[in-house]
Symmetry: C2
Subunit: 312 residues, 2 copies
Amino acid sequence: MSVAQIGEFGLIDRVTARLAHGPATLLGPGDDAAVIAAPDGRVAASTDVLVEGRHFRRDWGSARDIGHRAAAANLADIAAMGGSPTALLVALCMPPELDPGWAEELADGLAAEAATVGAGVVGGDMSASPTLTIAVTALGDLGGRPPVTRSGARPGDVVALAGRIGHAAAGLTVLSRGFRTPRLLVEAYRRPEVPYAAGPQAAQLGATSMIDVSDGLVADLGHVARASGVGIDVRRDAFEVPRQMRDAAQALGADPYTWILGGGEDHALVASFPPEVALPPQWRPIGRVVDGSGVTVDGEPYAGPAGWDHFR
Amino acid sequence: MSVAQIGEFGLIDRVTARLAHGPATLLGPGDDAAVIAAPDGRVAASTDVLVEGRHFRRDWGSARDIGHRAAAANLADIAAMGGSPTALLVALCMPPELDPGWAEELADGLAAEAATVGAGVVGGDMSASPTLTIAVTALGDLGGRPPVTRSGARPGDVVALAGRIGHAAAGLTVLSRGFRTPRLLVEAYRRPEVPYAAGPQAAQLGATSMIDVSDGLVADLGHVARASGVGIDVRRDAFEVPRQMRDAAQALGADPYTWILGGGEDHALVASFPPEVALPPQWRPIGRVVDGSGVTVDGEPYAGPAGWDHFR
């Protein structure tokens, strides 16, 4: 069976039948547009695209895993503004010979990840394409607060991190060398565990800037430093290197800090806070905002690979 | 020069520099998410994807034309709910060897089409891909009115059409046979003229159902008939066949009604209205909602090609 055999409308019916509505879904899939609640009169919106061979490989995770990852990448962007995700829309481009079961499992993964934050998959589009491509748009609610942008970091602010870091990058290295363990790292790559609730929490605590770590910690803090007109110094000893990561690094001849400082896709949240803010335990201080520009590690320029450019 | 040479962030900078904000844009491109006004506490949202070779060809129109078409397809979905578009988000997947100027002109076309309805291009994503792919999400405001869905048509309602029909399909046939004229038809394919304002107008007039004609008139009315549990009969003599379309049909040995009844992508709006509604001139009656199921033309089953399945 292929998606070409059941056709566009057949596949849309099969996929939408698997999607649950979120509480904000006023009108779900099946019409020209969906309608989603935007209780404070604003909506936060972000789009990310995943292309097979660049952002995922079908042999490195199940369709369901890829659905989780695609949803997480977008939902994390809403959290990084201090928002709560309400809805996803998904454009799916598939080779006509693809098994429709793959698309159904992808939808299950997207819907399951969205459901962890109470969001629904409310709409989308499908097309045949030689290249399997998943473009996801996430919508979210800011709860009446100003969005937490990249541009508000001020010298003296504490830089803190919520969520795991380096795990997904380590898992990707493990997979790309043909291994399937350690499980902690491989699973972190397949299904990021995003600290969604820490986003609105940071906004409530008075975060001055926030971003989700998708390109790599140093690269993403570089976006914050540039947008805010400040420098950021990160302390290497702020990061715990779990045993499995240390073992994998040793086995593969890698430096775990390359994963921690340069690897993305865990979708950790990193934010700056005024120094007087008492940080709850899920926000671990990792550095300081300073006068100047750029990102340093222990006061030195960072020499490792800084992040990922999707055209290079 | 290629997009690979200037890189992801370089291209994002070049493209976003060309985008104007709409009045609903509270926070534009450059952060983890955009923030858009949703004045009535709801947002209408729709996603459409265009794949090179399936939905467009680079030799059949300029990048700017393709931007207009991609935006129009999505903006029309918001209008078809009775809404006013507020914002577009765009995921663009490009072969690394593509000229960055092509992406910039595409952005110009997207922004120009959005600007015709006061919407801004507020965010997006870019990636390299072997297949040039444009996924657009449109957001819109319903002005405090209920959305006009596909499911409210009732027997006795008048079916009326706003906008051009068959022009884009005729233009596509002309282009696919290697011609570049008649200009009216070719331009209609390259840049659909969508009657955006007729969408909210229909909602205000009390339309019971509405859809935009993207798959083909009979196919799209079929969606309405199925969702509403009714039949729809269309009168062939309700459609004016312009001279250029008649001439092109004769020259190509085609039936112009195949374009009018089966061709999509003009993004005309078709709606049903209670019979007592006085229709303004831009809404031309073309048929009736009846008891039963399916779509008929002059009381007979329609034998022509009904529409387009993107997997076949």
